[in-house]
Subunit: 450 residues, 2 copies
């Protein structure tokens, strides 16, 4: 915990929440890691602490949280990015079998720095090296949800017991919490799903699972179990407020009712779904309309290939409008998903994703002089943040009341990212790309020398 | 013209063209506005000029060109961005009827600075203030194609004559050339299309027209003329190598054959099409496969709402893969569209969009230490530029051999953008938003206070 105070003074605009009317020339006081006051006359004479002048063009907004990623996979960024899903997976596995905890840490570090530089204050991770993701998060001051991945032909009871122990160890940690990560209904024993969910409820942590990502998964489930994937989770007793269903691009309308009834969360990962050509349609509007908690995630840096939640919000609206043939999905929907929606799925402290007094001190201060984000006014603020801010780099990020990004800290973090990337490149060069990673030269028009 | 030389020394990677294998530790010499040499041993003792050390993490790549925009419309960024197309258009017209040349210039300036900061060296513009777009381009050193817009119930001969005179005046200008801009088949007299195209061919400039953007446009054309929009252009004799067809999301397969036969270019604007929910499918793969020149554009900042060609390339691949249900569209397709494809549509000098000797000295040097773009290697370079570079800001941009962006120039340009944006905001505040620009609060879940 952080006993110091942090005062953000005179922010040009303050957006308290998605859909809130922006405040003008406002200050924010954080104390003991919690937002204590928002207004134009902050209480003075309190404990010593940091005072930051937000600046003439500043926008203070709630943190975004990345509700689904595989942070270590920045080691595989751009690797086979143009291959079909099957070849891509082969390439992933080829490298992943050779990864050590060192590369997993360095990859998570690069991803963590990328997240800070794009206004993301926490992530829910699913990867084989939870210790390394946690270590990177702690080093940077990010929030994280981590846990071992239950996957493959494992003893379900033993695997869940290990995951339970892992999550229990993290109870009470202010930044890094546990999650019960079960890969999917097709890549883990069903018993691990049932038991894993039970453990998640018992410990009060998220039960985090990929579901209905591809049409094939849905068809196989129907063939094998007679029901669709989310229905199957229901039958296994694995749907509750702890449950976080990732992708759901092929979820059926009647399954949505089940999700709503049980209070589970959905995570939309539009860029990854599109890049891997899984098609489908994530029913964002119907889900939100019915009151389901919808979160937003980037998926891993090997299938996106960036972890920029500003971009992800924009892409989410674009995809939804393309699918619905109308503009029913608005900026505020995805801003809500990226802030309180993701915070809810990750079971972060109450108020996370807003700047309301009582919320945790998670604050992003964007500099409004990013050329793409001009002109910026009170009446277009939310739209500019969602549609024009992919290049917005915060001047300041505070997490749990602690200043983790500032103009002074940036050069050192960039240097750290470059150093880590260099080591990751040496690793890839050492193991070799397996085979020539260039995609086949077709259509001819796009190739040289034909 | 630029008589000085510019030497970019020791660039870590040099990408000569989309689909080219990156060169390592390479220098580029530009002389008289043209690339003279690319290699590791630049000729010495030549004329005095600038020498730039590219740096350890640098990537020199061809410029991108934005083949379709309405640059002045940054004044309308985020304005009614969440409204349905009809309401959005009403809001646009409300403001546009009140615009003066001053706001048009300032809007074009903000957009131009945004383009430079995201590696775009030129744009083809369609807006009511061509002088102001030209002035902004010249001030920043950008290439542009501009011309008055032929639209509405005008005398077609008089309107085309004016456009012809405008374009003729610009012949021989090294940076700003003319274009014959006819709005569309539904918003301009057909005679203006026929005559306008004739003028474009006569002067050797692009004939620039929106076509088949919406399903409605196609159906109306069929009802009114018995043919589809591109067929209609064919019947009017308006398809040739000068013709640039923008949007084409509802183009029919048999119309593609016509486009190919006549050598016209297509411009894909995926973000704008998705944001305005026009649906449809731009047949990028079939078009490129058949040898049609495909370009990429952002459309205006009021319908995108950013002019970032890195983002646009990524969104193009994402949309295409979502539509095709496979990964046939690769990074190199869209990189080609954004570079040589757009250069071709804009009729830029031979070689533009590549760094081959003999090409114009249009070069972007990206700093590879953008956290989202790490780790970067020779084998993933093209993929990282397309999928992970939305935050990449060039360290240097040279256009026609002249250095127009550098670390030293950035603060001044940002200040200029902020000053212009301030004046644009004052204008919007003066005319008032017309009506409350907030979208209706539905679904309830996304609204406060329900």
């Amino acid at each position: 915990m952080n006993a110091e105070t942090l005062l953000l003074k005179g922010c040009r605009f303050v957006l308290l929440c998605a859909g809130c009317k922006p405040l003008v020339d406002t200050s924010i006081l954080v104390s003991n890691g919690v937002i204590e006051y928002v207004g134009d006359n902050p209480p003075s004479g309190s404990k010593t602490g940091y005072v930051i002048e937000c600046g003439e063009h500043s926008v203070a907004m709630p943190c975004m949280y990345n509700a689904h990623t595989h942070a270590a996979m920045s080691v595989l960024r751009g690797y086979y990015s143009d291959a079909e899903l099957h070849d891509w997976l082969q390439a992933m596995w080829f490298v992943e079998h050779r990864l050590s905890s060192r590369e997993a840490f360095l990859g998570s570090l690069v991803s963590g720095i990328e997240m800070l530089f794009s206004g993301t204050c926490g992530f829910m991770d699913m990867y084989f090296f939870p210790d390394e993701a946690a270590e990177a998060a702690r080093r940077l001051g990010l929030r994280a949800r981590v846990g071992p991945v239950i996957m493959g032909d494992v003893d379900p009871y033993r695997a869940v017991e290990e995951a339970r122990r892992y999550a229990r160890k993290l109870l009470g940690d202010p930044l890094v919490g546990g999650a019960i990560n079960v890969h999917s209904i097709y890549a883990a024993p069903l018993e691990a799903i049932r038991e894993g969910h039970r453990a998640a409820v018992e410990l009060g942590v998220p039960f985090h699972i990929h579901v209905s990502e591809t049409r094939r998964e849905v068809y196989e489930a129907k063939k094998r179990y007679g029901v669709f994937p989310v229905e199957l989770l229901g039958k296994l007793g694995a749907l509750s407020e702890n449950t976080v269903l990732v992708h759901a691009g092929w979820i059926a309308s009647w399954e949505l009712g089940l999700v709503k009834e049980k209070g589970a969360s959905l995570v939309h990962c539009p860029a990854s779904n599109m890049k891997l050509a899984t098609a489908g349609h994530f029913p964002l509007y119907e889900a939100m309309e019915s009151g389901i908690n919808v979160a937003l995630g980037t998926d891993g840096p090997a299938s996106n290939d960036s972890l920029n939640m500003f971009s992800e919000m924009k892409i989410a609206v674009l995809l939804q409008r393309h699918s619905y043939w109308d503009t029913r999905v608005k900026a505020r929907h995805v801003l809500r998903a990226a802030t309180t929606g993701s915070a809810g799925a990750m079971m972060l402290p109450r108020g996370a994703g807003t700047l309301q007094p009582g919320a945790p001190g998670d604050i992003v201060v964007v500099n409004g002089v990013t050329p793409s984000a001009l002109p910026l006014r009170r009446d277009n603020l939310e739209q500019v943040l969602v549609y024009s801010c992919e290049k917005c780099t915060p001047d300041y990020v505070a997490i749990n009341g602690r200043l983790v990004l500032s103009p002074e800290k940036k050069p050192q973090l960039l240097e750290e990212a470059a150093r880590a990337a260099k080591q990751l490149n040496e690793f890839i060069e050492r193991i070799g790309p397996g085979k020539e990673p260039e995609p086949p030269c077709s259509p001819r028009i796009a190739c040289r020398g034909d």
